[in-house]
Amino acid sequence: MRLVLSNIYQSFAGQTLFTIPELTIESGLAVHLHGPNGSGKSTLMKIIAGLNKPTNGKVERIYDRAQEHQRPAVIYLHQQAYLFDTHVRANVEYGLKLRGEQNPHKVDEALAWAHLENIQHRAAHHLSGGERQRLALARALVLGPQIILLDEPGSNLDMISMERIREMLNDLNQQGTGYILASHQENMLSQDCAHNWYLRDQQLITDKD
């Protein structure tokens, strides 16, 4: 799957936030999106995810296989993951239920992958910061996305949690899932990104530029 952004123009309160004439995002890429606070990283990620529409321009999803249409191909993870007001397992099951899929085995696998199998019946809002991020990743992984967008995933996490998230991201990437990680600073997670993009001075600079 590829995402093709064309003639993207985004403004905020009458001011230009950024302009991106053209950008192609291939699944499987591991990208660190740099940019100072307020440069529009979150807005760009939400545009890529299809959650926000740009002021002008379009985002096209080009699928290589027909079955990719059936699932959310691009999943956006908030800086602080929002967990539904239910238990851990039901959070992982959420996306599967939406598409009418009952697959307890897949849910078990995702919970084990995120080291959450022992607390799967705990209320999600009782989880720690690291557990919340892992649950958000497991909830995304179970849907088999092509690209995951992580907004400042390292903020407020201790080293052990960061290490676990790092392992999970590497694991995902090896399975062919791409990810874009927006962060204004370098951290343990951004070190593994093969590509560095910069959002500054209202422009997106990729390593092709």
Partner: protein, 236 residues
């Protein structure tokens, strides 16, 4: 004092005996109020959602009107509805005056603003990430809305319980457009008013006990919901 105590015991005995006339009156109250609540609920939630999430010209005016309607006396609603439904009124041809449907319409008007205002607050207090998270995990608009309803369910239940409490206990509108007809439009509150006027306190006290028990149940339910809801705790 002995007289009061005697009346109370008689009232309890009447309730316990399953008095058909008394429980019939309770049945009218519940039938009318639950019908009004069920009819008003879905449109009111829709209006609350639109007011919370969409920006359009006149939005503030709509919210102000809803908030103003919260405080409208029930007799004023009854008066306006009476004029509309009476023979000479614009809706007189439907012959709804002194019928249960007229009472239902009156109670819809009374509970609608409560449901809109409280659901609006619930939706506004809900985390803005709910819809985005649902959408990014594959929910369509309707599924995302259902997820939002689930996330604010306790606050919405509190709205329903509050609205029900308001309409089951109102007397002015029910009396004016219902006409207090025995076995048809006589409900708990209009019966209490009538029996008290006649000096027959036993049935009035028995019906009052039903209303008080209901009020206690509603308040306990609200308290339980508040202790279980993040959204309600944020609102309070």
């Amino acid at each position: 004092m002995d007289e009061l105590w005697h009346t109370l015991l008689q009232a309890l005995a009447q309730l316990a005996s399953g008095d058909e006339s008394l429980w019939g009156i309770v049945g009218v109250s519940f039938s009318v109020s639950l019908s009004a609540l069920l009819i008003a609920l879905i449109p009111a939630l829709g209006v609350g959602f639109v007011l919370a999430y969409y920006r359009f010209p006149g939005r503030w005016l709509a919210i102000s009107i809803v908030n103003s309607l919260l405080a409208v006396p029930t007799v004023v609603v009854g008066l306006v509805l009476y004029m509309l439904l009476s023979r000479a009124g614009p809706l007189g041809d439907y012959q709804l005056l002194f019928t249960q449907p007229a009472m239902v319409i009156g109670q819809i008007i009374l509970c609608f603003p409560i449901l809109v205002a409280m659901s609006l607050s619930a939706f506004q207090a809900a985390d803005q990430r709910v819809l985005e998270t649902a959408r990014t995990l594959g929910a369509n608009r309707l599924q995302a809305f259902r997820t939002l309803l689930f996330e604010v369910r306790f606050a919405l239940m509190a709205a329903v319980v509050t609205a029900f409490g308001r309409i089951i206990a109102e007397v002015g509108c029910a009396m004016m457009v219902g006409g207090n007809i025995l076995h048809y439009t006589r409900n708990i509150t209009t019966a209490i008013a009538l029996e008290t006027g006649k000096g027959e306190f036993v049935q009035g006290v028995a019906l009052g006990i039903v209303l008080l028990a209901l009020s206690l149940f509603i308040n306990m339910t609200l308290g339980w919901m508040q202790s279980n809801s993040r959204v309600l705790r944020q609102m309070s």
